[in-house]
């Protein structure tokens, strides 16, 4: 399961993830880290059964943490199977099936957002529901 951890600059200097790993013994995989002068955002992957433990620990250390139950979503009504999302995704989430239809391995997604702007048909979404579009 993936967790999105937001830390303020002060906390950023403090090794939250290392602390969590040490105290819980859970192996945490940092998939993406974005840290600028004001705040930092870390995307971590943890085994499903220790998710709650890790979440509580991180929250206890003062960072805000959000469980991301889903990665990239595709609106199949808008997708035309062009494949423009394939080569720009750092995680190889997208690929072609035998019939050149697009396949999505959502669990590999690290929520970087690249494909959302690369898709010419606005068929990809990261948060919220797929908007209702009268067809």
């Amino acid at each position: 399961m993936k967790l999105l951890v937001s830390v303020s600059r002060k906390q950023g200097k403090y090794p939250i993830i290392a602390q969590v790993v040490k105290e819980t013994g859970v192996l945490v995989n940092v998939e993406r880290a974005m840290i600028d002068s004001h705040e930092g955002e870390l995307l971590i992957d943890v085994p499903d059964d220790s998710c709650e433990l890790v979440r509580q620990k991180i929250a206890g250390l003062g960072a805000s943490v959000r469980i991301l139950d889903r990665g990239i979503r595709i609106d199949t009504r808008e997708c035309v199977d062009c494949g423009a999302c394939i080569s720009i995704c750092p995680q190889e989430v997208f690929s072609f099936g035998d019939d050149w239809g697009i396949l999505v391995e959502e669990e590999k997604c690290v929520i970087c957002g690249k494909c959302v702007i690369a898709c010419p048909h606005s068929a990809l979404f990261l948060s919220g529901e797929i908007p209702e579009r009268p067809f």
Binding site: V80, C82, G83, I88, W100, P120
Partner: protein, 502 residues
């Protein structure tokens, strides 16, 4: 042996025509040989589905009461061309909404109309004796229009060069997102299924030939704009009735950072009349090659990184300088197949009869670039040669004095050989004076990553660099990285004042 078009049409009428797609044809020719394939196969269907920016439609709205001679017309806030008598307009696919910009454009109007949605029409006129009305606002659906005829100036490019980007930043182009450092390759076109690639001499495709266009039966008008078959970049002008089209094959799109475009399905059924048509339809992805161009170079003469075939492109990975690079298409191969398969079904079912070109398309033409009669401003025309370079070892105080004396905000910093090593601004110097620390010479305070231009660069390209990096001056360097001038935003401002007054 030859086979007449009449015989082929007779077989189509009788439901006995043997129809295959351009993907199936190569294997048939390999197995049967050319002579047998000619006897066996009557029609080969092709298909492509991808971004076709140069598309649009003529709409006739019918006359209002009292009548209006529409001079400017907007459909859902997208301006359409109305210089066509009173109640006709041409919707260009890439025209963007005045209120929503790249989110909605001409292509969306086409998609929405075909999808049965209602569109708001607004028009104005100066009013005449015969057409007194001055404004009109109304809601229209496709059925309300007398005609909605798609006429696309340039469709179905024979092949299209692939794209990569060797710069250090992500580019957003009409070839999609191009990652920095040659991180990916984007390509377009259906290769083996492409109509013109199956008839590169234009023996079968020409004016009057029936085609698949957006889900309807349309026709080839003639050569497309920018038709350049001499370099294997032939194009077609096509037309068809929008009222027969379907959203599966007409889809609006927005290329991030580029704008609105239309994804369209086009296919041509090719009658197999002689050995040469067997040969041309036996083409495979391996036989069709394109260049991979570096879109990092902002010119219409982009350098080619290497040649590549559609077979390699479709494999998903190619090597460039020993490194594996992922490829992905912009056009849909799945839908291109659906186009070719649908055409196959139509011909088999006797839904269409084939013809040979009523007028042939020139197979040897070469496109040419625009003739420009006005001088395109280059950096050399407006750069400031009276700049003062400063030595990297000069004390900060000297930099401060130079800036003051010359009333400038930027000093290029050079080494002993006169080569550019950095830049200092008034801000850098003020900061160093306010918080001296242990900084003593120019080298300690300069910005080392300098954005440069060169005397031959087009001014518009230099402007993009200033904007992208949010800076107000560029160092102009020669081939040896020696500073020859500075280019400032002030000089650019002066240029623009003159540019439009000439």
């Amino acid at each position: 042996m030859k086979k007449s078009i009449d015989l082929i049409n007779e077989r189509i009428r009788d439901g006995n025509a043997h129809v295959v797609t351009a993907e199936e044809m190569p294997l048939i020719v390999t197995e049967l040989g050319e002579e047998e394939a000619l006897k066996e196969v009557d029609v080969v269907t092709t298909g492509t589905f991808g971004a076709m920016c140069s598309s649009g439609a003529f709409l006739n709205f019918g006359h209002a009461e009292p009548p209006i001679r529409m001079e400017r017309v907007w459909l859902n806030d997208v301006e359409v061309f109305a210089g066509l008598a009173a109640v006709d307009a041409y919707v260009g696919a890439t025209q963007q909404s005045t209120t929503q910009q790249s989110v909605y454009g001409g292509a969306h109007i086409l998609e929405d109309l075909i999808g049965g949605k209602s569109i708001e029409l607004r028009a104005i006129s100066h009013g005449t004796d015969c057409y007194p009305r001055r404004t009109i606002t109304t809601q229209l659906v496709l059925d309300d229009m007398n005609q909605a005829i798609m006429v696309n100036p340039r469709n179905a490019y024979q092949r299209y060069n692939a794209a990569t980007n060797t710069t250090d930043r992500t580019l957003h182009t009409y070839m999609g997102m191009l990652l920095p450092h040659g991180g990916n390759i984007a390509y377009s076109g259906s290769g083996v299924l492409n109509p013109i690639s199956n008839d590169p001499k234009f023996r079968l495709i020409g004016s009057g030939v029936p085609i698949f266009l957006g889900g309807a039966i349309g026709t080839v008008v003639g050569e497309g704009t920018q038709h350049s078959p001499a370099g294997a970049f032939g194009t077609l002008m096509t037309c068809g009735d929008m009222k027969q089209m379907s959203n599966t094959f007409v889809r609006a799109a927005t290329m991030h950072g580029y704008g609105v475009t239309l994804y369209l399905g086009v296919g041509v059924p090719l009658p197999i009349i002689d050995i040469e048509s067997v040969r041309s339809t036996a083409v495979t992805d391996r036989d069709i090659s394109v260049d991979i161009l570096d879109y990092g170079v902002p010119s219409s003469n982009r350098p080619s990184i290497r040649k590549v075939t559609y077979e390699e492109l479709k494999s998903g990975m190619i090597t460039i300088n020993g490194e594996d690079v992922r490829t992905s298409p912009l056009s849909s191969l799945k839908r291109a197949r659906i186009v070719a398969d649908t055409l196959k079904d139509w011909v088999k079912a006797g839904k269409m009869q084939l013809t040979l070109p009523a007028v042939r398309i020139n197979p040897d033409k070469a496109g040419k670039p625009m003739r420009e009669t006005a001088h395109v401003p280059r950096v050399i025309d407006i750069m400031d040669r009276r700049f003062i370079p400063i030595d990297e070892e000069s004390p900060i105080k000297v930099a401060a004095e130079t800036l003051l004396k010359d009333e400038t905000n930027h000093l290029p910093v050079v080494n002993k050989k006169g080569q550019l090593v950095g830049i200092v601004t008034t801000y850098d110097v003020s900061k160093a004076v306010a918080r001296p620390g242990n900084k003593t010479c120019v080298r300690d305070i300069m910005t080392k990553k300098v954005i440069t231009t060169n005397p031959d660069e087009a001014v518009d390209v230099a402007i993009q660099k200033l904007e992208r990096h949010n800076i107000s001056a560029l160092a102009v360097v020669d081939r040896e990285n020696k500073v020859v001038a500075m280019l400032t935003a002030i000089a650019l401002g002066k240029l623009f004042e003159q540019r439009w007054s000439r």
